[in-house]
């Protein structure tokens, strides 16, 4: 067998190994929303926000929580404070598509609302983070939202 053929086979072995590692990484986290929120709170200030109930989530995002296993929502009643943190843990195998798209629609609507007259709020809304993975949906708006996402990703693994 020539050298090229050996390298081709090695490449295939490497590809199979890579796919296996990527595919077998856990898809559903065993962490609870409280555990995750605790980790996120270290890089995202929720002290100025209020913990909201299920009805508030449904009102604000027009989403159904039937597919949710647990959830946490921090926000402020003051209209000009756009900071918020929403963490939803889905039931195993549940689809996140509808919730993610509703969150995207809502953030677009809010961006339109603040664009042009509230630059600070507008900038925060533009830098929103929305992530879906490990059975969670994570959405944050506020100072260091990107940092909150990193903390979230580290905590769910």
């Amino acid at each position: 067998m020539n050298r090229q053929r050996i390298f081709e086979i090695l490449s295939i072995v490497a590809l199979v190994a890579f796919i296996a590692i990527m595919s077998f990484e856990p898809t559903y986290s065993t962490k609870t929303t409280d555990e995750v929120a605790e980790a996120v709170a270290e890089s995202f200030d929720i002290t100025s926000l209020k913990k909201m109930d299920k009805n508030k989530i449904i009102d604000e995002f027009s989403i159904s929580l039937d597919e949710a296993d647990s959830f946490l929502y921090y926000a402020d009643d003051a209209v000009m404070n756009v900071s918020e943190l929403l963490i939803i843990k889905l039931k195993q195998g549940a689809s996140s598509e509808d919730i993610v798209s509703k969150i995207e629609s809502r953030v677009s609507e809010k961006q339109v609302l603040f664009d042009g007259y509230a630059p600070e709020q507008s900038a925060l809304l533009k830098d929103y983070v929305l992530y879906e993975g490990y059975g969670f949906i994570f959405y944050a708006v506020g100072d260091n939202a990107a940092g909150a996402l990193s903390a979230f990703k580290s905590s769910v693994r």
Partner: protein
């Protein structure tokens, strides 16, 4: 990393240029080997910036195809063996693309057909995989056909596949078009200047035009599509039509510009597609490198139009369904591709004589309307969303014009007119009509500097805004 980001403009690219033109690297043809090393390594850094884990996948692909190319060449005197190796390479590369891009789509559709839940781990799409896989396929097939020699330098081959200017969103550079340039290219002051102009033109298209008009589309599309007025729905479609052109052609211009600054000449990917007077004409002007790739590596090998009408129709439908699928793993992309396949067949076999009799202006209007309907299919989240939006465009949604429509029209009419004129090349024609003098060059340089400054001002205030074609 995107070209229109501060980190690329002020950190990454200046460092690459400094390294590329370091006196110690030299400027002779022999020194191009060193320049290729700089290009290869910087391209890997560029790619790893966003999704470091997929650099492994790209390196596996480069290593496999580098060895395969030499293997095919070594067996060129044994046609059956060479063909088997080529087919093996095609299967390997298509498997890689299929697994990372389409496995989720296939699994979801299978689950839906079987009526059962299938658990799988959805993987993020490796950025640029559709582009670099097609480049690799062109290499493997051309080496087999004897049209190019296999590349024996791993660095040069790696630089070709991973070349950061066109890695993420094309143009799809076929190996035969760049083979010679890997060891024979020069950077002159004139070429470097041209490169800067191209780059700034692309940056302006993306930052000043595409992002601005994209906000209008996002604003309208975020609402309820079924109750949009006729004016609002048309505004949304016009906005997306302009956004995707300026976004994608802007990226291609930047890629061509960056290539020029490093001595390369890439193929042009756009030629004022919205000036087209037929669908065939449109596709000879839009994403030219992709259409050329499908023509050379799928349509012609399938027999093209040489095997009778029935086979031509089948080949056209295959090519265009694959073109749609290449853009994304979703039914609306397949429908979009098939839509163009059917239109091209109609144009070729049914409407050919009728179209000849129609005045050019009407053919132009007809083509642009069809293209806009195509973009509805392309941009929609789902087929039902696309049908809803088309319904609103013909008045099935709400009124003809509502308060929102009036407001958005008054706010964006000027921008739409300017962008439309630019998209059909009016400004370029005006500029070309001015006689070339020293003054013209100075004014042009100052104007482009102004555009660059404006882009930077926008970039500072805007948030991250990736190119639309990144997701393909």
């Amino acid at each position: 990393m995107v070209f229109s980001s501060a980190v690329f403009l002020f950190v990454f690219f200046p460092i690459v240029l400094i390294l590329y033109f370091l006196p110690v690297i030299g400027d002779t043809q022999k020194d191009l080997r060193k320049k290729n090393i700089v290009l290869f390594l910087s391209s890997l850094v560029f790619y790893a910036w966003g999704e470091p884990v997929y650099i492994v996948l790209m390196l596996i692909s480069i290593f496999f195809n580098y060895n395969l190319g030499i293997d095919i060449e070594n067996n060129s005197s044994k046609p059956k063996k060479a063909k088997a190796l080529m087919l093996f390479g095609v299967v390997f590369n298509l498997f890689m693309l299929g697994f990372f891009k389409y496995s989720g789509f296939v699994t979801e559709n299978l689950a839906s057909v079987l009526g059962k839940e299938i658990n799988y781990n959805p993987l993020p799409l490796p950025v640029g995989i559709s582009f670099y896989t097609f480049q690799i396929l062109s290499y493997v097939i051309d080496v087999y056909k004897g049209e190019v020699k296999a590349q024996h330098s791993f660095v040069a081959f790696g630089a070709y596949i991973s070349m950061f200017p066109q890695l993420i969103a094309g143009p799809i550079v076929q190996y035969k078009d760049i083979d010679r340039q890997l060891y024979d290219r020069t950077v002159t002051v004139e070429k470097f200047y041209d490169g800067i102009i191209y780059f700034i033109k692309g940056l302006g298209k993306k930052v000043l035009f595409a992002n601005t008009i994209g906000a209008l589309y996002t604003e309208i599309a975020a609402g309820d599509l079924s109750s949009l007025s006729v004016v609002s729905s048309w505004l949304a479609v016009i906005a997306y039509t302009l956004q995707i052109y300026f976004d994608f052609s802007g990226y291609s211009d930047m890629a061509v510009g960056l290539g020029k600054m490093m001595g390369f000449e890439f193929v042009q990917n756009f030629n004022f597609p919205y000036k087209a007077t037929s669908i065939k004409d449109f596709w000879s002007r839009w994403h030219i490198s992709l259409s050329t790739w499908f023509r050379d590596y799928v349509y012609i090998p399938l027999g093209g139009n040489r095997k009778g009408t029935a086979r031509t129709i089948i080949n056209t439908l295959i090519v265009w369904s694959l073109t749609g699928l290449w853009h994304g793993a979703a039914w609306n992309f397949i429908a979009w591709g098939a839509f163009y396949g059917v239109l091209l067949i109609l144009e070729k076999f049914v409407l050919k004589d009728v179209l000849k009799k129609i005045p050019k202006a009407l053919r132009y209007v007809g083509t642009i309307i069809v293209v806009m309907v195509g973009w509805v299919l392309f941009s929609a989240e789902s087929l039902s969303d696309a049908i809803t939006l088309v319904g609103s465009m013909i008045g099935l949604g709400g009124s003809f014009i509502d308060a929102e429509g009036k407001y958005l029209l008054s706010q964006n009419a000027f921008l739409i007119v300017v962008m439309s004129l630019s998209a059909v090349g009016v400004f370029q024609k005006l500029s070309e009509s001015v006689k070339s003098t020293k003054w013209k060059r100075t004014i042009k340089s100052v104007a482009y500097l102004g555009i660059f400054a404006l882009c930077i001002a926008y970039l500072i205030s805007e948030s991250y805004n990736p190119f639309l074609y990144f997701r393909f």
